[in-house]
Symmetry: C2
Subunit: 334 residues, 2 copies
DNA sequence: AAAAATTATGTATACGTATACATTTGGATA
DNA sequence: TATCCAAATGTATACGTATACATAATTTTT
């Protein structure tokens, strides 16, 4: 059952049937109803593959994540999908697990499926080349959760440097001078690098020397945070505060501190970043920095929709505010 | 640039080019290399839409989630994608937000995109009809995280009744007789209903009367768990233990208990279900029941691949074991 | 009421691939 | 060397839609 058969039954041409589905305003109401009725009676299913082929682009957007869809990205992703669903656009998703070959394979899939656009969480040197490949094919892309000042990419995210800077200055403002850092894989992820820099710049601005012995980089995760914190606790001249540049690391650190028989914030202050869903519910509730996760997804999706309607516009770049969320995990230090 | 043009340059027929890509073993090695070389030089991109149209099925699987991709589903989803990636199958994803109209729209998308199969997390009366629509079109479906004994659906999940039963009996075994229940929206989700039943059957088997006043149903979430627990704490004849049939509810409950100035497990025992990622890291670490989240995703994907190769097999049904995870949130009661 | 402008519908074809069927090639067998 | 068989390649077409262009029907304008 296809449009031709419906056309035959309805006594109209296939063009009219096609119009009834894609541009209903161009078909006389009664005729349209008749066509829909026949379609329904015959269990007709619109064939998107055929339409995609003919139109040379699919009603589909590819979303690429580097890591697991965790507490934060989940919200962004939901917003992306909800926004695109309004235009009946499907979402193809892929996570790269940080593996360049997986990343290539997924982007190749997107290309072959004629996606109308791509959304990339995170920016890597590898995918820079790949993104160019998309734009050379006229496929718009948006990078999320990352700010790429001075580039001509579309992006929407928070200023990670500033978020980490704010968090660090908050601790300094509480009187802390010796502040440890738990940081993710900054070599692999631009935004983690930015957070690292934000921490360093905050210390420098306040004339505090950076001590690499209380900076620990690890993968993102509870376990990694716990292990890193245990190492920090063993350090000579233990820090009075720790900034974990991801709530996952912070939650793991929290556990390590408790295991060592100490209390947060009495014995040590702990600051997170991301405002993961569990941050408000751990004990003590974690002070952190929150980015507008849903907003980011929504804007990213809208950017794609706008470019679709009007290609060739200058790059759209959004740097959204992040908010310091003060809870109970940091105390003054004298 | 398409296969015809490549064929022209290579001096072969388009059929040979097509074979070089889809069934490379049918093309002489040197010729194949030549074709690939020309394709690469001309930045050729395989057009999946055209192939989908011709083959009348796409290299795509649709995955439908009811709720946010949280701590547990995330793992399942990752496993699905990894498994399908091996066969270069793309994943279209959608979450229904429990809205029947969204569910219909997404499934309609899947249908129109000629998906090779669908994976559904959760089973509802609404989607039962829709699933039938898929099978009538010859599209296989797998339901995950749900056991549908006696049906002819493909499914892979844990026995939710048994998981809740185990958890409840564990508390009873510790001497608790008055056990509160925090339960999700059991009217909407079959597996939550099963958990509810598991709780009730465990009590009944142990000759404990069910007291509706200490059973609270709410949406799934930290906040909802906290609020429900606060209500439970105000109850006359407060329970000595609470079974939260989702770790999200349990984590919220934990907070409520602390806010009330009580300690877990000294003053009240708390049992979760799901083994969400944060369960091991909250304070105290939460005793819970763990289902094989990755395994479920992996098997679901494999079922689809098997059916693809050999349609018409009897339904594949997997009921996987769940494990009681004893941590520190439950204490004996005398 | 005729002409013009607008709207609705029809005709015909292309999108790029997969594959049934036909043909050729190359090597093995007798 | 003639015959046969398998492997490699070619020919031709269909998959179902969208749309440019042509035409017919309807409304608006004069």
């Amino acid at each position: 059952m296809n449009m031709n058969e419906i056309a035959k039954i309805a006594g109209v041409s296939n063009a009219t049937v096609s119009r009834a589905f894609r541009t209903p305003e161009k078909v006389r109401p009664e005729l349209k109803e008749k066509i829909f009725k026949i379609a329904a009676e015959n269990h007709y299913v619109y064939n998107a593959s055929a339409a995609d082929l003919k139109r040379r682009v699919s009603n589909t957007v590819g979303v690429l994540f580097q890591q697991r869809i965790g507490a934060v990205f989940s919200k962004t992703f939901m917003a992306i999908q909800e926004t695109l669903l309004e235009k009946n656009i499907s979402v193809i998703i892929g996570h790269t697990q940080f593996k360049p070959e997986v990343e290539s394979q997924l982007l190749q899939q997107f290309l072959e499926r004629q996606v109308a656009g791509i959304i990339l969480s995170g920016f890597t040197k590898e995918n820079k080349t790949l993104i160019k490949k998309f734009s050379s094919q006229g496929i718009p892309s948006v990078i999320i959760w990352e700010i790429l000042k001075g580039s001509d990419f579309n992006y929407v995210g928070i200023d990670n440097h500033n978020a980490a800077f704010k968090a660090t200055e908050y601790l300094i403002g509480l009187g802390h001078r010796r502040i440890g850092l738990l940081i993710g894989p900054y070599q692999k992820m631009e935004r983690i690098q930015n957070r690292y820099d934000g921490y360093k710049d905050a210390l420098t601005k306040n004339k505090i020397e950076i001590d690499q012995s209380i900076v620990i980089s690890s993968e993102l995760g509870f376990l990694q945070g716990k292990e890193a914190m245990h190492r920090l606790l063993k350090a000579a001249d233990r820090p009075s505060a720790v900034f974990a540049a991801s709530d996952y690391l912070a939650m793991g650190a929290l556990k390590a501190i408790k295991e060592a028989g100490m209390k947060v914030p009495k014995d040590i202050s702990l600051m997170g970043l991301d405002d993961a869903e569990f941050a408000a519910y751990c004990d003590p509730p974690l002070s952190t920095v929150r980015g507008p996760a849903r907003e980011i997804g929504k804007i990213a999706a809208k950017i794609l929709l706008e470019i679709k309607d009007e290609p060739g516009l200058p790059p759209k770049q959004y740097c959204l505010d992040s908010d310091l969320i003060i809870r109970d995990s940091c105390a003054p230090h004298f």
